[in-house]
Symmetry: C2
Subunit: 210 residues, 2 copies
């Protein structure tokens, strides 16, 4: 319990930093390979003229994801967690010092691919967004409930693969609402572009109201 | 560190239990939704007349997976880990008491869907098998190296979806061998059946030699 209370103190410092500079910070969560980085790249391409965007990447090893993000032209810092299975608010605090995100900007944190532990660690973000891909099965919200309970928005990704998998979209969203009645839901394909507009509008809208 | 040494003492007890009864125990690891349960169901259907099979299921919540396994006619015990992100040897020890797997049998442990933490916890198994699906991306062995380093076998699943995703099979296997030069690799489709024979033969062969 001591780890969480230390983490929450750092999270409060981060949140005050973001609020003081009007930075809208999103914490992206998912299983490994659900499409977080692909979604971020397409999001940056669509919003880059509208907002200043920067990204903090979290992975056990490699800086592949930060390198993919930097190719879009925006700043990205890579955190390697080693044996660690989630990002902590302390690590984010240090990354913010390095990244120096602009005031009034969008900051995306791509967490380590893990549907369990990141749910418990507040990073100081404005909202948590959980990404689930249709290839993982519709039962995940009930089997891995904590992260769907902690999320403000659930994005169902890879809907271009729906013709090839056995996946019931409405049932999956119903499961998510069973775990978290307030969760909002969107469906899209990060590679094909379907549904991206509803995600971009969600960002525009929540940036103002959060 | 104390957690791991306590776990390892329980793992040794489990391993002696298995050895004493000639039980071949496999610990299946993957991201959420890579296809562990689907693979187990198809494996049981193929081997059920040859061996006695039983299964220990690990999930944060629900007993969906144990119920799916029981529909094949074999015994299954469900462990719910709650906030826990991996199975421990102690939990397996208790499940063995409940399950009472037959001598000379096959015992599958389906771990919690998580490519990070389960790598560090010895359950007393004969071998660790990591399942990766083609929809997750070929970079996973380098980004989540510990679990590929710990595994004896890597199964690439959902190869029926290769035509619809950008995935280089040889590169992925090369990445896995970079992290673990001794890892063996197989590719299959648990739903379509392609490649299942090489997996069944791997089981038959390793059961004798391990
Ligand atoms: N068909 C399809 N593939 C997608 C989509 N989005 C991502 N992918 C593919 O899914 C794989 C993983 O994508 P990434 O963006 O690397 O996933 P990630 O969540 O960032 O993965 P980690 O950071 O390793 O946890 C890649 O092969 C992508 O091309 C999509 O909408 N449709
Ligand atoms: N196309 C295709 N889909 C598959 C294959 N194997 C599994 N699936 C699908 O993948 C989804 C997840 O399968 P599961 O077997 O539940 O995966 P799991 O690894 O047991 O998931 P968790 O226990 O929740 O971590 C389901 O929709 C399956 O139908 C395959 O070889 N090809
Ligand atoms: Mg990524
Ligand atoms: Mg399963
Ligand atoms: Zn963890
Ligand atoms: Zn863990």
């Amino acid at each position: 319990q001591d780890i969480l209370s230390k983490n929450n103190r750092c999270a409060t410092i981060n949140r005050n930093y973001f609020r003081g500079r009007n930075i809208f910070c999103l914490n992206l969560l998912s299983s490994p390979g659900s499409g977080k980085t692909t979604l971020l790249i397409e999001t940056i391409k669509a919003l880059n003229n509208e907002f200043s965007v920067s990204v903090i990447e979290g992975d056990q090893q490699t800086s592949f994801d930060a390198e993919r993000i930097r190719k879009t032209g925006v700043k990205a810092v890579q955190i390697n967690t080693g044996k660690g299975c989630h990002l902590s608010a302390r690590k984010i605090g240090r990354a913010i010092d390095e990244l120096k995100p602009a005031p009034d900007s969008l900051l995306f944190i791509e967490n380590v691919g893990n549907l369990v532990c990141p749910a418990a660690f507040d990073l100081g973000e404005s909202c948590k967004v959980v990404v689930l891909s249709v290839t993982e099965g519709a039962d995940k919200p009930l089997k891995y409930p904590d992260i769907f309970h902690a999320a403000d928005l659930m994005i169902l990704n890879k809907i271009d693969l729906l013709p090839y998998v056995d996946f019931d979209v409405e049932r999956c969203f119903e499961y998510a609402r069973r775990v978290n009645p307030d969760i909002q839901t969107l469906q899209l394909s990060a590679t094909k572009g379907d549904g991206m507009n509803s995600w971009l509008n969600w960002i525009r809208q929540h940036r103002k109201t959060t």
